[in-house]
Symmetry: C2
Subunit: 397 residues, 2 copies
Amino acid sequence: MFEFRIQRTDGLARAGTLTLPHGEVQTPAFMPVGTHAVVRGLSANDVRRTGAQIILGNTYHLHLRPGETVIQQMGGLHRFTTWDRPMLTDSGGFQVFSLQGLRSIGEHGVEFQSHIDGTTRTLTPERAMEIQWQLGADIAMAFDHVVPGQSSPAAACEGMERTLRWLDRCRRTHSDLAERGKEGTREEAAALVPSFPPSLLPSFHQTLWPIIQGGIHDELRLRSLEGTLERGPWTGIAIGGLSVGEPKPVMHHILESLEPSLPREIPRYLMGVGFPADLLEGIARGVDLFDCVAATRNGRHGSAWLPTGRVNVRGAALKGSTDPLDPTCDCETCTTYPRGYLRHLFVVEDMLGLRLISIHNIRFLVRLGEQARTHILNGTFDGWSREWLGRHSARGD
Amino acid sequence: MFEFRIQRTDGLARAGTLTLPHGEVQTPAFMPVGTHAVVRGLSANDVRRTGAQIILGNTYHLHLRPGETVIQQMGGLHRFTTWDRPMLTDSGGFQVFSLQGLRSIGEHGVEFQSHIDGTTRTLTPERAMEIQWQLGADIAMAFDHVVPGQSSPAAACEGMERTLRWLDRCRRTHSDLAERGKEGTREEAAALVPSFPPSLLPSFHQTLWPIIQGGIHDELRLRSLEGTLERGPWTGIAIGGLSVGEPKPVMHHILESLEPSLPREIPRYLMGVGFPADLLEGIARGVDLFDCVAATRNGRHGSAWLPTGRVNVRGAALKGSTDPLDPTCDCETCTTYPRGYLRHLFVVEDMLGLRLISIHNIRFLVRLGEQARTHILNGTFDGWSREWLGRHSARGD
């Protein structure tokens, strides 16, 4: 369990297979985000049809609504959402640190006000582990101290060092939970909801992944990585606190400076990234996993990714067109609907339009991962990705 | 084509089969409404999975957006929506007469202001036929003068008589269009969009159905029916202007007074009806076809139909429940999702919730038609429908 096999590398790019309790993930891979236990507007079947192999859940949002206890009593996040493939939950760190003015940070953890009902809540490394254990995803993320993208070295250092101290507490709590969970829990859950298909049982073999912090400062990033590896071994490792406002070349530089020191044998997850070009840039620098809400957020605003850049589905140019949105795409939207109809759905403000563009955008990123993998396996990644990036950015996107 | 065969009657209830260019419709049947060329929020596949055999399009809305010419140039309403089964379009009469204060009525037709851009437009019997011909549904409806539900005999009589005069004009125009359409049109459309699956071609053999008016006045209704039949023959007949505010017993009485004079051999369509109980009450009075937006409108507000009445999916009672919404239902929603998850989707305001309840509500009405048909074929309709109505209305709905 949690084994990661690398089939081939091509430059720094890696084609691998990650084995998780709910199935395998062929990497590189994009993971759609299911913030509220739903990939915004999409059914589990919609998401499955995009070829997505693993999705995310947000601990912060699920803690507030419906609450981890409700989800646990209903049999865990898999049964709750009917998503039967691998799942990863974040720790809530990114969300609570984004609540400017509504939270106070201490060594113990973060006290914050719910954005839903204003109640005061506390998230600590221990609570973040307990909540994620109750949710029951395959992969839990460590509770980290995220600092803004352009933080000073001092602020970035403080967040990075605290993240390491918190990692000790996360690890301890998660080990305790896993130890206790070994006995009987699966049977208890099965007894709770007898009609469970086995694929919807929660992951009782949950693994914990640490998160590298350190802002945009090479040296802090490397110290974060060293400190994290000292606390290992780990079955995967994440790079957090990027794509939060810093220029793209800065992110690429951080990835390049970390890469030689990252362990070869475990998957690397670049959190909160990204757009199509970001995926290819990340893969070229040795990243295996990505997540981002841009696919669904853009979809809801009628902005669709194409190999040649981006198109606004509301645009008059699409009126009356019987062509597919993207003739090279194999998604449900592109193989079924004329784009004149997609435009019409946005004009009359029917929510089917939002859904169909989100499906396309997710498939676009999932397929980009699949294509990258094929080219890595063929040893043609570098030429292909350069050519792809040239074509995609030609329209200034 | 347009043949209607009755397999069996049980009391006044009828089990029949209507043959249309895009396929057969087993009656009694509920027809979901696709106002803007989309059943609100649902894909054509979602609607197909509810078992719906035929859907509606609204001429008024499609005339305004995207316009009948756009739809015709894209190959007709079937190709536009990707709905490959039978389709019916209304004439726009009901909508323009609902535009209180924004329209002026004359013998020629109705001049109205678009609710979208304020432009002045005119809908006449001739235009209503032309638009529907361009849309290309299997069944076009006559352009009728609809009066409010509680209209005086004088007002109801005026609307009813005008509807008859307009019917002459509708018939003439529709015959001309059909005559011209016989030659080449199908080939032209196929040439326009060579990738057309044949099932998505428009209906070049479109039929026209008249609409009985006359408000809540028996005698006017019967005169409307006589005048309509004099202008026949017809392949189907609709009863309009009901379920617009009059008490239910009044609607039932009108149906009962019309029934003996309605032709046996063609299908009867009760427009804008209804709720589950209305379907059974209508079927018991010899009605074959129904349409109503309540299934999707209620769905969007989280109100789901159950055999025992109605449930508000937002209700706290559903929190944490792993039961299906309706254990007796075979729809995608009820066979897949725990109702605690459906409630959660409404709490976090994800549009997937709206869609899943709309799917259930449509399936509920479609299945009620299927069940009624089975009981008619078995000769057990009366007892079954009384028992069903007793259970459904026990909760005051």
